[in-house]
Symmetry: C2
Subunit: 192 residues, 2 copies
């Protein structure tokens, strides 16, 4: 049996994640059956679940991939930039971004009723919240931020706007004035 | 056969809506089967679907009920007050408010893929947006609102915050600092 290098394993894992994301975007969480995941990845269920324990793990791994990318953007440019990128993606991705966000909403009930699933999801959100809080604290020290409201409240304000954007795009509504709305959001946390 | 008065019909309709709301909150949209709707209402499917054409119509009627109450509150006290009420309900309703919001998220995929369903849902949202816009326009004329950003953008900013609150509560996250976050939201549309 030939040895498989770590690079090859990583590449395969990456391919599976990209194909699974498209499958969840198109069919939703429930609709992305193992059969459809096999078709989307071009791999057998045995090969897929060699890399990911089950469908939940695969779904959460796609979401963790997103979260890691978001944390990097938040550190560099802030959560408002994440929202601007998301808006741009939704404009250009032909429904895939909205579909993927929609599949995330589908699992909302499990976040209330399935503690193990909720815990793994919460770790992902916590990393983004933490990066947002750290960035706002640095901005606070630099005197860029308003100082009549504490950083925790401002962090949760930005998260509220992010959640609002997710729901807006996931339900397929037009972008409307969202780009200018994000200017209002950004300005609301800054020193006047 | 005894004549049934309009009042009796309205009362029956109201009872069905309340029971159906609880059923959707507890089991989600998919999980609220006709059997469970029969149990929740104490009526046969024949009796339920005498008042509502099908499960979709029943679900949308509950949502329209909400929308009518929201429009009344928006006219009187604004969309931020709707959010404050929702937060208070989520704190005191033992999961029912979160559950009902969660069942609304479950249908997110149909809003992108089922034009007839999406149209009925959009009419409900449009009434709330319209009431919000009208109220902001009155506030604008009264000189209470900031005037460097137009009313349409401010309307969509408030809607973004409302959507964010729905997603936050529907996924069962704790209220955290949301009450103070709403102060930031409210202040962001006002004249400094």
């Amino acid at each position: 049996m030939p040895r498989v290098s770590q690079d090859q394993l990583d590449a395969r894992r990456h391919e599976i994640l990209a194909a699974a994301r498209g499958c969840f975007a198109r069919f939703g969480y429930e609709g992305a059956t193992v059969r459809r995941l096999e078709e989307a990845t071009g791999l057998s269920r045995g090969a897929i679940f060699h890399h990911f324990r089950d469908k939940d793990s695969l779904f959460l791994a796609v979401a963790e991939d997103d979260a890691a990318a978001m944390v990097a953007t938040v550190r560099r440019n802030g959560l408002v930039q994440v929202m601007r990128d998301l808006l741009e993606q939704a404009r250009t991705s032909d429904g895939d971004t909205a579909g993927w966000l929609g599949s995330q909403l589908e699992v909302s009930r499990r976040l209330r009723t399935d503690p193990a699933f909720a815990k793994r999801w919460a770790e992902r959100s916590a990393a983004i919240a933490e990066a947002t809080r750290e960035r706002l604290e640095r901005q606070h020290e630099a005197g860029v931020l308003r100082d009549d409201v504490n950083v925790e409240v401002l962090t949760q304000f930005l998260e509220l706007a992010y959640d609002g954007m997710v729901l807006h795009l996931a339900t397929g509504r037009p972008a409307g004035e969202l780009s200018r709305v994000l200017d209002v959001v950004e300005e609301a946390v800054r020193r006047p």
